[in-house]
Symmetry: C2
Subunit: 241 residues, 2 copies
DNA sequence: GGCGTTCCTTGATGCAAGTCAATCTGCTTT
DNA sequence: AAAGCAGATTGACTTGCATCAAGGAACGCC
């Protein structure tokens, strides 16, 4: 649970930075929370979405599906991520709650009105959208040109970088990643079959690059090797440096 | 060649709609043209780009490259498309002129200042960016889950929809598509090898769905079949209806 | 504690697309 | 007209990943 916007908890960055803009105070009457249970669909592709929202807690996915059931994930939403499309009635992909999800929503129309009057908010929306676009274009490279091993290693690197509150380094310089997704959701993320994902997990483990702690926690033993395996070009500093 | 903004030719839609906003008149001093020859690189990945621009004529690509040379196209720019990133110094992908290209440029800083003062221009930028994001997410589905045949058919559908000035329907209800790309650029677009692209051309031809007029002009004989082959779900009306 | 469900792993097999290589087709150049 | 060249096609072979199939491990529930 989070209070009114000025009192948002730290992790709730999106709304904090948004609500701290004075113009946004005027939006309080258009603000409300929504809760979804794990597995529930938040919007179906093609349906109306009359709010924009910030993810307070939980994980959700955005995905496209072909008629025969093949699906490709096109977005992964975690705490502080933004959901919704100003000036667009309909959402072209399906959004699904992976865990229980809490959204901090604003009715779309009032939000758009405030946006029109607030250059700061407009700039922030554009900035977020450009970030998503950049991420999406990296994803194109991953799907179009990377091998299964590179894809999975890349996913681990991406998740490591996004770990909310900074990645957890355990003593010994090891890095812990909590997987927010099951194997078959990772398969939908990576454009692979779930069996191939599983094989890549095993392969990286055999190579001593990662270790598992249960099915959902990966401990990275050799981050440099992981980066290499991901096809990453630049030593980006990474979450541990 | 195009004149000052209020006199832009029809095809130069981006600048027209932009420049017709009164605020943008103030940008005339920051406006200039740039010309590139076919094959020339406009920006390298990671380099600064100090202008934003509208494509006046020609075709350019945006692409990511891995160290070993594998490349994935992440954007295709044609007349009236927008190039550049407000509030971002550097461009994360390489932009290359495929044909001779003319850009109508604005220095980035003045553009950003006008944007901050003009809700209309901000809204337009956000709108364009959301369009690119949607296109990019469709592209993820294509790369992640479609077969070679579906990929190539999808590309033809995309190009048909984008043909500037509306697609050309020849007598007999046939649809003509001028390919802006060579086979191996199409391969980079689709995440395939150039040989596979070539085989898909031949396959669609054998099936009577398309006919070729030289290497660069495709005549669609059966648009419905092409749509089906692309994995398209909805009868979208399409360029001929 | 036992049982069912959901998620994960591993193996065997097949196929779509990649790779390597040879040839063909227009275009441009001289 | 001949030569040269970039781009496209086609064939033969290889391979990475999907598919099909059978268990195994973790976690809930009664």
């Amino acid at each position: 649970m989070h209070g009114s916007c000025p009192d948002c908890p730290v992790r709730h960055q999106a709304i904090c930075s948004t609500c701290n803009a004075p113009e946004l105070r005027r939006l309080e009457h258009a603000r409300y929370d929504r809760r979804y249970e794990a597995g529930q669909v938040i919007v179906w592709a093609g349906d109306r979405l009359d709010f924009v929202a910030s993810v307070v807690s939980g994980v959700a996915t955005m995905s496209h599906t072909l008629e025969d059931g093949r699906t490709q994930m096109v977005g992964l939403l975690q705490a502080s991520d933004f959901l919704g499309r100003p000036h667009r009635e309909r959402t072209p992909y399906t959004v699904t709650a992976v865990t229980d999800v809490v959204l901090c929503c604003f009715r779309r129309k009032p939000f758009e009105e405030v946006m029109a009057a607030s250059p700061a908010l407009s700039a922030q929306m554009l900035d977020r959208t450009l970030d998503e676009l950049d991420a999406s274009r990296e994803w194109l490279l991953l799907l179009g040109r990377k091998s299964a091993r590179e894809k999975f290693a890349s996913l681990l690197v991406i998740l490591a970088r996004r770990e909310v509150g900074g990645p957890q380094a355990s003593p010994g310089g090891e890095l812990q990643i909590d997987l927010p997704l099951t194997r078959d959701m990772m398969a939908d993320y990576l454009g692979l079959s779930l069996e191939t994902v599983s094989r890549q997990v095993s392969a990286l483990r055999r190579d001593g690059i990662i270790r598992l702690n249960g099915n959902r926690t990966v401990i990275v033993q050799d981050y440099a090797a992981l980066l290499t395996a991901s096809g990453e070009t630049d030593a980006d500093g990474g979450p541990l440096s």
